[in-house]
Amino acid sequence: MKKIKLPMDAVHKRLYFLFGVVLILIVLSLVAPWLCPHDPNLTDLKLAKQPPSSEYPFGTDSYGRCVFSRVLMGAKVSIFASLALVMGTFIFGTAYGVVCGYYGGKVDRALMGVVDILLAFPDMILAIAVAGILGGGLINAMIALAVTGWTQYARLARGSVMAVKSEVYIQAARISGNSHSRIMWRHMLPNISGPLIVTATLQIGGMMMGIAGLSFLGIGVQIPQAEWGSMINEGRSLMQTAPWIILYPGVVMLLAVMIFNLLGDTVRDLLDPKQQTI
């Protein structure tokens, strides 16, 4: 039953490898317009519902559009929207939580009250409600997911700040006359950033699924823009006769989420060895 620790080298190797894969994914999604064998939005009813062939590697959808080209174009939306979303919620939530934890007292209680209120909603339901009220569109879907997304960083940052608040090095920083903001951002933040970065990396895949989920319900990315979730939604009624319309976007999305989750697990093994699963 002994805990076997992987030598750090292996974890580092895994991390660099996954960074490489993610980088390739990002580059692929950026050059997608030049990689598409067909115009992703070109409809041709004569070519509708063609099974995968050498001309159309993933087949065509009900409007005769090339599924492969659309999957490629959808990558950019999914990857960049989720990266931006994680970045935004991470920065806002962390700042919010650090301020709460640092000042404590009334400020803390009032600000954390907001977090408690937002946590009372299941995130997907609130996102659906917000997206439904704001109307469709990628930006609105992102706002909807951000509304609850930032709260976990706030809670985590607040907890960590409260834990390090009484540490000797913080007292030393205070005695040497550092300003509040300098103590918060230069002394505390670097010491509490590990778990926050881990959470953020693990969150990328989840956000990808969130955006796709909203698009799937028809309140995210709007037709005809290519996005994995909305492609799956469009292909739903044709599942019996043309399963490839939903199969390929689904599988590509699963792989993308897996890569980002694997990256998250690796970052955790590296930064937060206490939670190590390996």
């Binding site: 409600a129 796709a212 989750n261």
Partner: protein, 312 residues
Amino acid sequence: MGKYIRKRFVQLIPILLGVSFITFALMYIAPSDPAEMKLSAQGTAVSQEILDETREEMGLNKPFLEQYLSWLLNLLTGDMGVSYVDNVPVSQKIVTAMPSTIILAVSSMLLTLLIAIPLGILAAIRQNQWVDYSIRFFTFVGTSVPNFFLALVLIYVFAMQLNWLPVLATGSIRGLILPTIALSTVMISKYIRQIRAAVLEELNKDYVMGARSRGIQENVILYKNVLRNSMITVVTLIGLSIGSLLGGAAVVETIFVWRGLGKMVVDAIGARDYPVIQGFVVWMAIIYVVVNLLTDLSYHLLDPRVKEGWET
């Protein structure tokens, strides 16, 4: 204990106020006009005159705060308003949708626990052997698959190709199977990971080594001590999931046309049926507080060291 429970219920008030205020404000700033939505939902021809009349009737001409307060006062008497779409009282709609959601929540929870607890323990005691590796591979895929895609794949394989199960959840036991699997897969994967980690942590504690050195059988240590102490993790996980399960699984319920709360609220959002969305939100907030309270109380039962009022 009674005092503690009362205190927790008092905490419900600000959360409920905040939650209802936020949704009310969101509805208020929404671009569409509730009066118009109500009329068109009921199939009445919209003229300016009828529109003004309906607005007056619905109190939409009053200032925002007044509208909110009157809604709040009605809520205190148990009146959540009437659906724009079919004029059914919202409370009645929620009560009608509840049983379906509860059935799905209970079945998914049971399936999750039945699979996740044994597999999580197995993975921990066979750490870094092939059983552990295969279980972990399953959990990894399980956490990465979007539930709507999984639901469609299940429908395609088991309902369309093999014809074993119905596509739509028609209320029968057979109809319950696919939505339950679709909902549980992610939960099972998460639970296994957490249970495995908790059991591993427990196994590495000194008292286990002490027990071993005193010659106590491995099975006794595992079942009498380690499992009991790992159950706190399970309770935390159940507490986290049950809240969102009772809110209805929006996506899965929609795909399988399972008439629970999740489908109800997705439909209401689609039709901009504001009173229904409002009622749902209040319901969610109540569940949230009650479930949190029950979770804390069960910590207390499982681990007497946890003091009342203990909060994470």
